[in-house]
Subunit: 192 residues, 2 copies
DNA sequence: ATAGAATGATAGCAAGCACTTGCATGGAGG
DNA sequence: CCTCCATGCAAGTGCTTGCTATCATTCTAT
């Protein structure tokens, strides 16, 4: 990937994050990238092509892989905190807004599978983690998929709400939210 | 509101839900509403004006008011289930998609406050509910705002994920999700 | 029955859109 | 020094956009 192409991709993705795909014009892109408009079409077939190159890049892609779940200590509270922190590190407000900006009918078919990968990876890995924790005798049996969905929903929900409404919705900061939520989850599935 | 204007508003809001504000053209609107394009501009000042009339209508607005929280039984598990069920009844996938379709820079200033009202109402009412439950001696003291945020995040997260990915993300159905989540929350804040 | 209001049909406006063409320029490598 | 490739520049393509103007038609209320 030459330098000019990369500048074009970066400009495109930034604009989509801020204004959405349809509202992002090729003139905008050229201006922000600091290149002539016709250069876009020398490097890429069309506007959509730029985006598809963008979403295929590591840089513009959240990298939530099962690898993230290998670094566990088999201690429920610590591990859950680590999972949530890792998710929020990867899924920044910028990334959330980019994902929404990509929600155009013209792109949906190609980009939706990519966007969906992150939640899927998180949920299935978390479910698998719980299964192993049960094997190790550290937690009781449970509907682990439903539990993973509860934990992921709240992690995702907080991330999204924060990206959309900044700090206007709650005073609860990120670390505080994670600590308190994890405590509830841990306590919530413990036997009495 | 005369019939023609209402048809125009309905068509506009449906299209925004499906394609987003920028991708929705006035020709699209006229076709779907079954009226001539120039009629749009006889009834409304411009395209944006149609949307602003739309979002001010009960019909195109989720009605999550504190009233919803008056119908409580002061029984934690039942009440939380009722809150989550009521939220998901109001915030349908259609409404979620509409909210995202309204996220255009041209509209943001005017529509964002309206969209933000729903989470704000939910969180503050829930926090208030917990305070009263403490007064009644039904639950122990806690950081209630943080707790409300955890519960709202997971409710919102599930709703949003469901609207975006349909059933491709989890097999956990709505009732099951609510029941299991509430159990964890209730158990999670109980003393042992 | 008739006036007045609402709507349709048609045409068109300027502006903006994604995208193209032809040619000039500049810088790197042999 | 020359060649070649990447890029800039200016102009322009056909099409779509939001929006308007004019006039004909239909509906409604008295």
């Amino acid at each position: 990937m030459d330098d000019t192409s990369q500048k074009i991709i970066d400009a495109t993705m930034s604009l989509i994050r801020d204004k959405g795909y349809v509202a992002t014009t090729t003139k905008d892109i050229a201006r922000l990238a600091g290149v002539n408009e016709c250069t876009l079409f020398r490097k890429f077939q069309n506007k959509k092509d730029i985006v598809l190159h963008g979403v295929s890049q590591e840089k513009w892609r959240a990298n939530v892989t099962p690898k993230l779940f290998q670094n566990v200590q088999w201690e429920l509270e610590q591990d859950l905190q680590m999972f949530m922190t890792a998710y929020m590190d990867k899924i920044t407000p910028d990334f959330v807004n980019l994902s929404i900006g990509l929600r155009a009918p013209q792109l949906y078919e190609e980009t939706a599978p990519l966007i969906m990968k992150v939640p899927q990876a998180f949920i299935s890995s978390l479910t698998e983690y719980f299964r192993k924790m049960e094997e190790l005798g550290k937690i009781a049996h449970y509907d682990f998929e439903s539990l993973a969905m509860t934990i992921f929903s709240s992690t995702f929900g907080y991330t999204f709400l924060n990206a959309s409404f900044h700090q206007n919705l709650t005073k609860t900061g990120r670390e505080e939210f994670i600590k308190n939520s994890v405590k509830i989850f841990v306590n919530g599935i413990s036997e009495r």
